[in-house]
Subunit: 264 residues, 2 copies
């Protein structure tokens, strides 16, 4: 038993889709969330910068005395996970591995598509991880850089969003994929549109899969919080919280957020 | 005469549209440019954060021994210009005033529209500045947050961009504006599309106007560089330069850029 909080960080809002899934399957856990909204987005930036930001975020969460850190950002998981694991030597969980494994389990024709930020796709990590589990699988990747700003704007079902999504997804049709990995924690909010464009494809939401990994790890290490643990989750951001609080409610499907501003 | 460089900073690439105009009318001047690409964009962030970033950028340029600093970013000009002027007490030129004055000069029916980032529009600065010059003018403002990512992606004439622009510009048609201020240094790259949507409107590019202000100031203070001044402009960025160099060439219409990475 361990009533300490689970630390979660993201470049901004996207990681809240992971928090939502963790809260669903681990209702007694307290969350300490950090959204690096002053420096968001990470997906257009490069490795050295992403490692520096991720290390600062992890450091902040460790000072809040968390029992584990979830990197709820595909870009940071893709480019900085190994480095921060090495640096901090504690339980750190990324979102890539869980999503990749779920995709391997889901595909029948061994053809998987992945969309993500430029940094995530450029790192080649999904292809590498998926093929580690099954080298016979063909992986097709496409960066989708405009989706994060569209989600941040709440343009979840506009015609222009559908047009941009089609542009990013169309190339997968010719590749005959049967499984699509949403390789960015913002994208689950676009699931209804994605399903409309690719109705016959398994859609893998790495946030959901990661929550299951967190749960398994806590059970395995006997670190689950006590049932009925009195908990108040805490949210921190590096820019003024007003927009985070407002749009964050959309990510958490209506739960109230009252984030505090901090400087890293 | 003064052969020191002109310092220019922006949150990223947009300020290069201002640099292009300065180079055009002041061909003997050397430029030291700083693009804060690790923390871009600024337009979705808030005042305290934008002031902190702008002060750090100004400080960097002053260490490079520049004779003046141009804040080539509407968001930083809107929210941080007064603060950094106070803090550093040197010649600092923003982009708002020049654009506002040009719009006042251009309008005939005294109805002006402004598009910009959320932070710029939220500050109300264009309305305030325009009405300082002529309180009879009606100003209509609309934030256009998706335009920066579209420009950064080079989606300058795609159908989706036209659709999104129409969404932002449509409200101005009912207001019968005759002049539109492009209140963000990224937007001049969208001028062809904007003219197609609003063919009968004066389009004010604050970068162009700001270059004229810089020129006037240097002449007035007798700080123009010597004719034939041997000059090599320098570009600095806070993230890895590769994308900046590539997309920057589009902003500067083909000039080569070789930026150096620095940490602030």
């Amino acid at each position: 038993m361990n009533n300490k909080a689970i630390g979660v960080f993201d470049s901004g809002l996207g990681g809240l889709t992971v928090v939502k899934e963790i809260m669903k399957i681990l209702p007694d856990e307290k969350i300490v969330y950090l959204g690096d909204t002053a420096r968001t987005p990470y997906g257009t930036k490069t490795k050295g910068t992403i490692i520096r930001f991720s290390a600062e975020n992890t450091n902040f969460l460790l000072k809040k005395n968390v029992k584990t850190v979830v990197v709820a950002c595909n870009t940071a998981s893709a480019l900085a996970l190994n480095e921060i694991k090495k640096k901090f030597g504690i339980n750190i969980i990324g979102v890539i591995d869980a999503g990749a494994r779920a995709a391997v389990a889901a595909t029948e024709n061994k053809r998987i598509g992945v969309i993500g930020t430029k940094a995530t796709i450029g790192s080649g990590i999904y292809e590498k991880t998926i093929r580690k589990y099954n080298p016979d699988i063909k992986v097709f990747s496409n960066p989708a850089p405009l989706l994060v700003p569209l989600v941040e704007e709440g343009w979840l079902d506009r015609q222009e969003t559908a047009g941009i999504l089609k542009y990013y997804l169309e190339p997968f049709k010719g590749k005959k994929i049967d499984t699509l990995v949403l390789g960015c924690t913002h994208y689950p909010l676009l699931k209804p549109l994605i399903r409309r464009i690719m109705p016959d494809v398994n859609v893998i939401d790495s946030g959901k899969e990661t929550a299951a990994v967190v749960s398994n790890l806590l059970i395995m290490k006997n670190q689950v919080a006590k049932k009925g643990n009195s908990k108040t989750s805490a949210f921190y951001v590096t820019d003024t919280p007003s927009a985070f609080n407002r749009v964050g409610a959309m990510f958490l499907k209506g739960s109230m957020i009252k984030a505090k501003k901090i400087t890293l």
